[in-house]
């Protein structure tokens, strides 16, 4: 890190409670400019829920989220939840701020999904172009009568470049669902990049990939961070990848943060070992 440390994402005391179940419990974390940070933990630890809170899919029950030094999400237990609330820091937050996911994406945060969510009926190229829709300058009228041809052209060109980068250029006209699994994951990343994010959230990008593909992906994530000046926050079970790539790692278990630090620190942390104990690295 040559430049001074500036955090892109800061989660403060975020708690997500569904009925009586606390899925994420008082989670606080930071992701700094240019870093690659991983969020790991056993299955059901609340990792994806944390992502959903950060990207606005869920409204947290309590706590707040900062992006680019601006508070974007905040909530406190209200209504029925007031009585039900089991988490901590009740009363600390008093505001409600819950933009919809699209607003958050437009601020410069993009994500991929664990259970791939490509647009099924669309071609590979269109999947990427649709993600550029949020950056359009055209309005309905100009778009309908093709007065935005220049923009369209530029977008198509950029989309093709992205596909090239991810090795998908040769299948650009195929239906997205006809791609093999690994390529679908790549397409998800291409789609996320198409929104021009500052922060890229990857939810298990290597799930279902073989070791060779995983290695390639590791290298690739490093490359795009350089090329697009990205900050990356990822959830992953492949420990090789995580340890290889991460600047820092957060570990969740039963919704609670149990450890944080550099790969070396985490690898030797007793709590983490306990949480994963008896389970092979690839679990």
């Amino acid at each position: 890190m040559s430049e001074s440390v500036k955090n892109v994402l800061r989660v403060e005391n975020a708690t997500m409670q569904f009925g009586g179940v606390v899925a994420v419990d008082n989670l606080s974390l930071e992701v700094n400019q240019g870093e690659i940070v991983s969020l790991i933990g056993p299955n059901g630890a609340g990792k994806t829920t944390a992502f959903n809170v950060i990207t606005g899919v869920y409204q947290p029950t309590n706590g707040c989220v900062w992006f680019d030094e601006k508070k974007i999400i905040e909530n406190y237990p209200r209504g029925k939840m007031k009585k039900l609330y089991q988490g901590q820091n009740a009363g600390k937050y008093t505001e409600t701020l819950s933009p919809s996911p699209d607003k958050i994406t437009q601020l410069g945060m993009a994500r991929t999904f664990q259970n791939i969510r490509l647009w099924k009926g669309q071609s590979v190229l269109d999947n990427v172009r649709i993600a550029m829709h949020c950056r359009r300058t055209s309005n309905l009228l100009t778009a309908t009568f093709r007065l935005n041809a220049k923009e369209e052209e530029a977008q198509t060109k950029e989309a093709l470049e992205l596909l090239e980068l991810l090795g998908l250029a040769h299948v650009k006209d195929e239906l997205s669902t006809s791609l093999p699994y690994g390529q679908q994951r790549h397409l998800e990343i291409a789609r996320a990049l198409a929104t021009h994010p500052k922060l890229l959230l990857l939810d298990e990008p290597a799930a279902g990939m073989n070791p060779q593909e995983t290695d390639e992906l590791t290298a690739f994530i490093g490359r795009i961070r350089q090329q697009f000046h990205l900050t990356v926050f990822l959830i992953e079970h492949h420990m090789d990848l995580v340890m290889d790539i991460s600047d820092r790692i957060y570990v969740l278990d039963f919704g609670k943060l149990i450890a944080a630090g550099t790969p070396d620190v985490i690898q030797n942390d007793q709590k983490v070992i306990d949480a994963y104990l008896g389970v092979s690295e690839d679990a």
Binding site: F18, G19, N52, V57, Y58
Partner: protein, 294 residues
């Protein structure tokens, strides 16, 4: 007392209408509870029951005609499910709904073809067609019987769903279709039972309904069907008591509006009520709260 005398007929009509809506609404709510399908054809099945009774009575005595009508209606409900909904079980919900609309279209055209579009007079059923005095107001026996019969049928239904094995299976299927299937519940059987019960209630409902409003025509079931559906949504779709309460509220409200001389807007009011409920409390009055899933 004089005021009471004025209000009573309105209330009686309202309760009677509500009872009939309730019996139709139950068919909607049970099917929706399990399949998440608005069975648009339900109102038409109800009308077919009316016509079957009309034709049955010309060929056989009443005590045979009633079970015959119920049997035919139940068979129709069962067949519709097997032919038009079962093949689409894995299809998107929209396809099934379109299929339901198609069935409704077919049944209406079929009734038109068979009857030639003539409205028919429903036969009178001796025990319930008579007149009776209630608190100084003359009314039909059926008006008084309907709410009681409705309540009895509903209690039976609640007993069925809460205390029997089939009921347990139905509730399981309503909660989680896939898991229920994995747990060894024969889902097709459960769905068939649901349609059978729904059609049975529609048949009984049609007898009460047409005894009260004694004209059967191919499109007569459409509006009551829609209103019964509104009642089901209003009460919280999937909830049996909800459907009943919703039906009575709508029946009574409608009649009050009519008695105030605003009949023009009585249907519009029903729909407005629906939209308000959907916007304020999408799960209806008694609807089970659905956890958000992504």
């Amino acid at each position: 007392m004089e005021l009471f005398q004025k209000i009573l007929p309105t209330l009686l009509s309202g309760i009677s209408a509500g009872g009939q809506y309730a019996l139709i609404a139950l068919g909607y709510t049970m099917v929706y509870g399990i399949l998440r399908l608005i069975n648009f054809a339900h109102g038409d099945i109800f009308t077919v029951a009316g016509f079957v009774m009309f034709y049955a009575i010309t060929a056989m005595p009443l005590y045979l005609a009633i079970p015959f009508t119920i049997l035919v209606t139940v068979l129709l409900g069962f067949t519709v499910e097997r032919v038009a909904y079962k093949p689409l079980r894995s299809a998107p919900r929209m396809s099934v709904m379109i299929s339901a609309i198609g069935v409704s279209y077919l049944l209406q055209n079929l009734m038109w073809y068979v009857t030639g579009g003539q409205a028919q007079q429903y036969p009178s059923i001796p025990w319930i067609s008579g007149k009776v005095m209630v608190l100084g107001v003359e009314t039909k026996v059926v008006t008084v019987i309907t709410p009681f019969l409705t309540v009895i049928l509903i209690l039976l239904l609640v007993f069925l769903t809460k205390r029997t094995k089939v009921g347990l299976a139905m509730r399981a299927a309503a909660k989680d279709f896939e898991t229920a299937r994995l747990m060894g519940i024969k889902i097709d059987g459960v769905i068939s039972v649901t349609f059978v019960i729904g059609s049975f209630l529609a048949a009984v409902g049609s007898m009460l309904f047409f005894t009260n409003y004694s004209t059967v025509s191919p499109t007569v079931g459409m509006m009551p069907g829609l209103k019964a559906f509104v009642a089901a949504v209003f009460g919280g779709i999937g909830s049996i008591p909800g459907a009943v309460v919703g039906a009575f509220i709508i029946g009574i409200c409608e009649n009050i509006i009519r008695s105030l001389g605003w009949s023009t807007f009585s249907d519009a009011f029903t729909f407005a009520l629906l939209i308000v409920v959907l916007c304020v409390k999408p799960t209806g009055l008694f609807g089970e709260k659905l956890e958000e899933k992504v």
